[in-house]
């Protein structure tokens, strides 16, 4: 593992949490960094909805097929097992076992051979899981599992970050708010994709870049765009030419937040 990248990642993540951050944007960065750092092909975060379903809240790529694959695990798969047991669940070769027939075949069709799920734990409660996909079969290194777990823990902490945790109610409030923010972002992706004639993945990248340029929270911009109170212009040049489709956010820092007056 690249030690320098590891330290840069933790500096970036903790730095972001000190500022006024947007949870969905933050978790998107966290899953993208997981891919680079842990040398896996894709990463996704699922949160448990009190209605009894695991729901995708962020992924390293916004490609619809990948989101669908993560979401499949609400019914069966390593994430569900990990969530239920509160322990890491690993499948070094999805083709070999019959543990999750539906999930394994969908994962293989998407080009993934190995999968690792890591629990998001808070004291005695499991609130979700971080899911890592790899294109090649074989076990995950202990180091990958350890650092992956640390990233899952950072994701948990970020959820609780907005307010103090003295109140037991706060976690459920934050979970539901995060899940609804995710829905707003999906609605905004659809509206922007249709308006500009681009795919939803490119629409997410544009939305996110716009939020950063305007120094605005991603969910706030998404909501204002859906409500029609803020417009998002087409990027200059061909919309499909610029980075769209990679799903990888740029590393660049966001503009400095306005400082409170002394």
């Amino acid at each position: 593992m690249d030690g320098q990248l590891l330290s840069e990642t933790f500096v970036e993540l903790t730095d972001t949490m000190v500022a006024d951050f947007d949870l969905i944007d933050f978790l998107h960065v966290l899953t993208s960094r997981s891919v680079e750092l842990l040398d896996v092909s894709a990463a996704g975060l699922l949160l448990a909805d009190p209605r009894g379903e695991l729901r995708v809240v962020a992924a390293s790529s916004e490609a619809a097929r990948l989101l669908e694959l993560f979401q499949l695990q609400s019914d069966e798969g390593p994430c569900l097992d990990c969530f239920r047991s509160g322990r890491p669940v690993s499948a070094a070769d999805l083709g070999a076992g019959q543990r999750w027939p539906q999930f394994a075949s969908a994962a293989e069709q998407a080009g993934f051979c190995a999968v690792q799920a890591l629990p998001m734990r808070l004291r005695d409660q499991v609130i979700g899981a971080l899911n890592l996909f790899r294109a090649t079969a074989g076990p995950f290194d202990a180091e990958v599992v350890d650092v992956g777990q640390a990233l899952a823990d950072v994701a948990t902490i970020s959820l609780l970050h907005d307010r103090s945790m003295r109140r037991t109610d706060t976690l459920n409030e934050q979970l539901q708010t995060a899940l609804n923010s995710r829905v707003v972002i999906e609605q905004a992706k659809g509206k922007l994709a249709e308006r500009l004639g681009i795919d939803v993945n490119a629409a997410f990248t544009l939305l996110r870049d716009q939020a950063r340029n305007r120094n605005q929270r991603l969910s706030d911009l998404a909501r204002a765009f859906v409500d029609g109170t803020q417009a998002i212009p087409a990027p200059s040049g061909s919309p499909r030419a610029s980075r769209s489709g990679t799903g990888q956010p740029r590393l660049g820092p966001r503009p400095a937040p306005p400082r409170p007056a002394p």
Partner: protein
């Protein structure tokens, strides 16, 4: 079943003392549609009068606000005027669920207890399901312009399993039809119902651009 019935059913359903339901179809604070008792009415009124409270917080954040003890320091700090006034009115705990699907706002479901204590995990899950049902019923009741193709009340369509495509398709339809996000969702469901297709399948076709809907007629292009 109407949204008002949900208000009556949720009280024994999650073991609270009373409930209120307000509709907010145009994103405004909305009007009170149903209350189960006088305390519920007072709680709903108080927040509008005082300009603070869990109802307004829930509307702003899009997530529920769960105050399991209005007499504790946290609630007092959060709502210095509302918390003591709500206690005097006879409430010890208040739980407010915004009736939202992303940017779609249908209203608010409020619950209160005359004794402090949190909702259990089961009760919270059930309360969210009641809230989902009320959301769909309010959307059905408010969709006069969608015509006879709309899904019938009483049967929430397609919320059993979350699919990102449904939200993306709803966003795409706002552009195709030139309507609000709320109306786009109504039209999406109406199309699925009229053509006897699963909502998730219609959504997938729209996102894949195999299907477009056109203004006025919910017909295939």
């Amino acid at each position: 079943m109407s949204a008002a019935d949900v208000c009556a059913a949720v009280v024994p359903g999650v073991a609270v003392s009373g409930a209120w339901l307000s509709a907010a179809l145009d994103g405004q604070a909305g009007h009170l549609m149903q209350v189960t008792d006088e305390v519920g009415r007072l709680l709903a009124d108080l927040q509008l009068t005082l300009g603070e409270g869990p109802l307004l917080d829930a509307s702003a954040s899009g997530g529920p606000v769960l105050a399991s003890d209005l007499a504790d320091g946290d609630s007092g700090a959060r709502w210095p005027a509302f918390a003591p006034a709500a206690c005097r009115a006879g409430a010890a705990a208040v739980f407010v669920f915004p009736l939202v699907i992303g940017a779609i706002r249908a209203g608010v479901l409020g619950l209160y207890r005359d004794r402090p204590g949190p909702l259990s995990d089961f009760q919270l899950g059930d309360a969210l399901v009641f809230a989902d049902t009320a959301t769909m019923l309010l959307l059905d009741a408010g969709q006069g312009q969608a015509g006879e193709g709309a899904a019938p009340g009483g049967q929430p369509v397609g919320l059993a399993s979350y699919r990102a495509e449904i939200d993306q398709a709803t966003g795409m339809l706002t552009e195709q039809l030139g309507v609000s996000i709320t109306d786009a969702f109504v039209r999406l469901r109406a199309y699925a119902y009229a053509n006897d297709i699963q909502l998730a399948d219609v959504a997938r076709d729209i996102v894949a651009r195999r299907l477009r809907l056109f203004p006025d007629l919910a017909s295939e292009g």
